[in-house]
Structure formats: C-alpha cells, structure tokens
C-alpha cells in the first residue's frame, strides 16, 4: 500500500517536472520570437556591404517611463547665453521638451525637422525647449556654437541631473516630451522618430485646451 502511494507521488512529480520543461521551452520560444521582432526594427549599413542591410536592435522605448496624462514637471534652467527659463514661463502654450547632446548623432538628424516645425507652428503657440544632456561642465560657449552651426531657432538650455530625474532619468537620447497647453504631457518619444510622428505629437499638444 505504501509503495503504491509513493509511486503515485513519483508520477505526480514527474508530470510536474514535465510540465515545467514544456513551460520553459515555451518561454524560451517566446523570448526568442520577441528578440527577433525587436531586431527587425532597425538597419545597419556596413561599409563593405554595398547597402546590403543587416538587422539591428532598438531598445530606447523600453526604458521610458509613461508620463502621458501627467502634469509636466516644472524646471528652471539657464540657456546657453545665461538667461533663466522655466517651463512654467510657457503656460498656455504647447511645448516640446527635447533632451539632446552634442555627441548624439540621432539628435542632430532631427534638429532640422524641429527647426522647420517650430517655424511652422510658433504662430499657433508652440515652442521647443532643447535641454542639453552633455557632461556637467561642458562650456556654454561650445553648446552655443553648436546651436548656431545647426541653425537652431529655439532656446537651448543647460540641463542638469535634477531635471533629467524629473523626467524619468532620460537614459536614451533624443528623448522628447510634448506638453499640451494645459501643462499635461500628451506624448513622449525615446529615440529618433519620423518627422511626421513629431508633427503629429505637436498637433496633439496644440489641440489641448489651456487652463
């Protein structure tokens, strides 16, 4: 009788182990599938490949906290020419807070788009605040020169850790937060997105009512 009971327990445990193995296999399959999907989102262009593409990974969006619908944290920073600016100075306007750095190639790519969009929508109450994320101590003159060379038509602010922390740490650059006229974040992006996507977020921010 005792042997029968022990055998039953062994069978149960074997079945449990088998179920665990099946689940483990499925979890692995799912993980590999997700990884393959993520890899399909970018393109690497090696010099020797004559434009033959190799798949690349994208991971910026994974690290962005969801602040949409929340009031944009206020901050006060100095511009590269020493003027103090606060987000609250732009009450009633739609604001794009764009975190960038001089060493960030994707940031440079989107800058001409931002310049054009700022020109297009400024009349409707739109502004861009470019918050720099270079090392603390980077000379303001260097940042100002960079802004001039890029033809930037919006304020460039010297960022700090406190401001970055308010926006979730801002690990990946560029990172953009689109603030509506009511002071709430309507959209956020980590990493380079298309100009159309930026414009759509600007329109969304402009469409919000002020308070």
């Amino acid at each position: 009788m005792g042997d029968v009971k022990r055998n039953q327990w062994v069978i149960v445990l074997v079945l449990a182990a088998f179920a665990l193995m099946v689940w483990s296999g499925y979890a692995n399959y799912k993980r590999r599938k997700q990884y393959a999907q993520r890899q399909a989102q970018g393109t690497l262009v090696p010099e020797t490949a004559n434009n033959q593409s190799v798949q690349q990974d994208v991971s910026a969006d994974e690290g962005l906290p969801d602040l949409r619908g929340k009031r944009a944290p206020d901050f006060s920073l100095k511009t590269v020419d020493g003027k103090k600016i606060s987000l609250s100075d732009y009450k009633g306007k739609a604001v794009l807070i764009n975190f960038w750095a001089t060493w960030c190639a994707p940031c440079k790519i989107e800058m001409p788009w931002l310049v054009a969009l700022r020109t297009q929508y400024a009349g409707q109450g739109f502004e861009i605040l470019g918050v720099n994320a270079d090392d603390v101590g980077t000379p303001r003159a260097k940042l100002a020169k960079f802004g001039q060379e890029q033809g930037l038509n919006y304020p460039l602010l010297v960022g700090d850790d406190a401001t970055s922390r308010k926006y979730g740490g801002v690990e990946f650059l560029p990172t953009s937060y689109f603030v509506g006229r009511d002071g709430k974040i309507v959209s956020e992006t980590a990493g380079l997105v298309s100009k159309d996507e930026v414009e759509a977020s600007i329109k969304k921010a402009l469409a919000t009512g002020g308070n």
Binding site: N28, Q34, Q39, Q56, W103, C104, A105, E171, F172
Partner: protein
C-alpha cells in the same frame, strides 16, 4: 534525487528569462584575464571586447569631431611600460533615416592591440575603455569599463 532535478530545471528556467540590459553593459571586456610574456621584450597583448547585439560604439576615429571616440586609458603600473595601443578601423554605419550621414563604428567583437614591455615578475595591466554607445535610433551617455589583465613576465 528527483528534487535536485526539479531545482536544476527551475534554475534553468530562471536563467533563460530575459533580463533588462543595464545601461552600462553595452560593451564587455572578454579576454585575456592573464598572459605570459617574455621579460624585457616588446610584446603585443590582444584585448578582446564585445559590443552588445543591436548597439554600436564610435570607433577610435569618428567621422564627426563632436562624437566621442573609443579610448583606452592605461594606468601606469610599476614593472610594465605600455608604449602604444592600436585600434582597429571602424565600419561605416548609417541610420536608416539618414543613409548619407556615415558614422565610423565598432559592432560585435573588436580587438585592441596593446604594446608593452614588462620587467620579470607578476604585474597587473589596468586600464579603462571609454566608449559611447547607440542603437539604431538613440544614444546612451559615454561610459567607461575596467580592463584588467594579469601579466606574468619571465
């Protein structure tokens, strides 16, 4: 015995779960951990690194002066004289939205060649690789990882 098997299975399952990649692990120093060299002779040590899948770092000679190059800072250590570090040439890379704007980068595994002479005895080659990593659409702040190799000179 059976419980051990279950525990091993559980460990295997836990090991296979995807873990978030910390911000400071885009590049890993792979090898060597120890080398044996001839004392008083010019020797080359090959330092192997790997850039995480999906990421690239600027090469030692980026095409834009504002980009941060890969650099190896070597700590001066008694008994070892590092005379030069050779970096491999970068590979051209372009973001999908700007295919004409080329960057010079390292991806996957790359090797630096450190040239040194050592006094007889056991020493430690210490340094730090500074790099700035990006993926297809975004960039991370510059970071430094330690490089340490035990050097036995005879």
């Amino acid at each position: 015995m059976f419980l051990w098997a279950v525990m091993i299975l559980l460990l295997q399952v836990m090991k296979d779960q995807p873990l978030p990649l910390p911000a400071d692990t885009q590049v890993a120093f792979l090898s060597p951990t120890q080398v044996s060299v001839a004392a008083h002779r010019n020797t080359q040590i090959d330092l192997h690194f790997r850039v995480a899948n999906g990421f690239h770092i600027n090469s030692h000679a980026p095409l834009d002066k504002l980009l941060i190059p890969a650099r190896l800072a070597v700590v001066e250590t008694p008994g070892i004289n590092v005379t030069a570090v050779d970096f491999p040439p970068g590979t051209d890379y372009a973001l999908q939205v700007a295919p004409r704007e080329k960057l010079s980068v390292y991806t996957g595994e790359f090797v630096l060649h450190a040239h040194l002479t050592a006094q007889p005895g056991e020493h430690s080659f210490e340094g730090g690789l500074r790099y700035q990593a990006c993926d297809a659409n975004s960039c991370l702040p510059p970071h430094t990882i330690p490089v340490s190799v035990a050097v036995v000179a005879q």
